[in-house]
Symmetry: C2
Subunit: 252 residues, 2 copies
């Protein structure tokens, strides 16, 4: 019923690899000193991930499992999303909109407009299998991130033309559209998904090429929002790029 | 005795402007809920600053004064420096050194190799006047950041040619060299300071131009370390750039 695994989007693939945290992490954090030193370490690990100092990191350090759980399910993740949204909106309001429809804003989808958090929670930040995970996402619909929906609507009201640029493959177009509409997003100009010839490309190249294409069509990309550095770096980058937190996985 | 204020480096100028925190911040944080909500807010503010989401931010939010003080003088700042240093070293070890002396690493100086922390502490993160501050720095010598000295020496031992690229003006060359040697740094290839014709340039342009010059001379810039995004973005950027924390000021 589903296309071969080779087509499955990079993010889901990565999340599967990363969510299998070694079981010894559970035995940590009982002692208060251990807990404090882990917290200090994990805060610094988070700094290295969110600044891109860590580069192409592959796994959540096992001693940070509790930290990530707490960060993602407590107040902090929501707070960071909110502040990022305000940063982006503050900037968006300073942009002169020409009114010719060519002032553009680019959004990533997974962990930016939609969230797998419900799935992560359900499995206590441990994954089962790739196939199950993908099916789950398609069946249960991914959750909207409220800060993102609010920003999305304000960006549109300011007069930006909105592009959705995702690493998801073309065969997920219908499900993706359904999920976006269900979550409350609408009126995007174009939903760009990976084509078969994009399959082997790094995320950063695939995303750069597609932004370049928009520039070649005359669009002025003022802003972009994504959870991965590969959404924000490369070439044909937006005038200002905004980084959402992601402690779950890294997409090169 | 000292050249006119117009020559004083951007960082010191900025730090002076920013350290004058409104006094009302002192009246905050007594109530536990206030403290918790401030902590949540300030953690998110920090995220926005360290990811560059905040862009050209100008002042520490007054409710984050205590947070910054705690971050800078407790364990966290040192821990973040340490992890960044390890990220950089891990990468440096993967670089193939050709042995022709053209494999380069670029370091920023202020808040990267040397630190004004002692000054900030002394004045409880409040500044007096620009002139006093500059004189203080020259007289008392800036403190070394141990993680930086350790990284610096390891980078050199790996065979990289080291360049120091700073926004400080040329007239501070002697004092800068004296301070660097005093702190334990030596054997850099070149110390690059702002010339008179660089005075009005943005930090990001000045730094990019000078990295480009190194590239034109044939150097391969594999890595760079700095506390400002203007050290790491722009053009002729290093293959990998490493961001040190800085919650004190932003240099555009």
């Amino acid at each position: 019923m589903y296309p071969p695994p080779s087509l499955i989007i990079l993010k889901l693939l990565l999340s599967t690899l990363l969510l299998v945290t070694p079981s010894q992490s559970l035995s940590q954090g009982n002692h208060e000193d251990d807990h404090e030193s882990s917290s200090l370490f994990c805060e610094s690990w988070r700094f290295s991930v969110e600044t891109n100092n860590a580069g192409n990191w592959s796994t959540i350090p096992s001693r940070c499992y509790e930290f990530v759980n707490h960060y993602m399910t407590g107040d902090r993740y929501v707070s960071d999303l909110g502040v990022t949204g305000r940063n982006a909106l503050d900037y968006a309001k300073t942009v002169d909109i020409a009114g010719d429809g060519m002032d553009a804003w680019v959004f990533d989808i997974d962990e930016t407009l939609l969230s797998m958090l419900a799935y992560y929670k359900l499995h206590k930040f441990r994954s089962t299998t790739l196939k199950v995970e993908v099916k789950w996402g398609l069946r249960h619909k991914l959750t909207v991130l409220p800060a993102s929906l609010s920003l999305y609507n304000e960006i549109r009201q300011l007069g930006f033309t909105v592009f959705l640029l995702t690493g998801r493959p073309e065969w997920l177009r219908n499900q993706t559209v359904t999920n976006l509409l269900y979550a409350g997003y609408n009126d995007w100009e174009r939903l760009i998904l990976r084509q078969s010839y994009d399959e082997r490309k790094k995320a950063i190249d695939y995303k750069s090429e597609n932004r370049k294409q928009l520039e070649d069509e005359g669009y002025r990309i003022h802003g972009s929002l994504g959870d991965q550095w590969s959404d924000l770096l490369g070439y044909a980058t937006a005038q200002r790029s905004f980084k959402y937190p992601n402690l779950m996985y890294y997409a090169a």
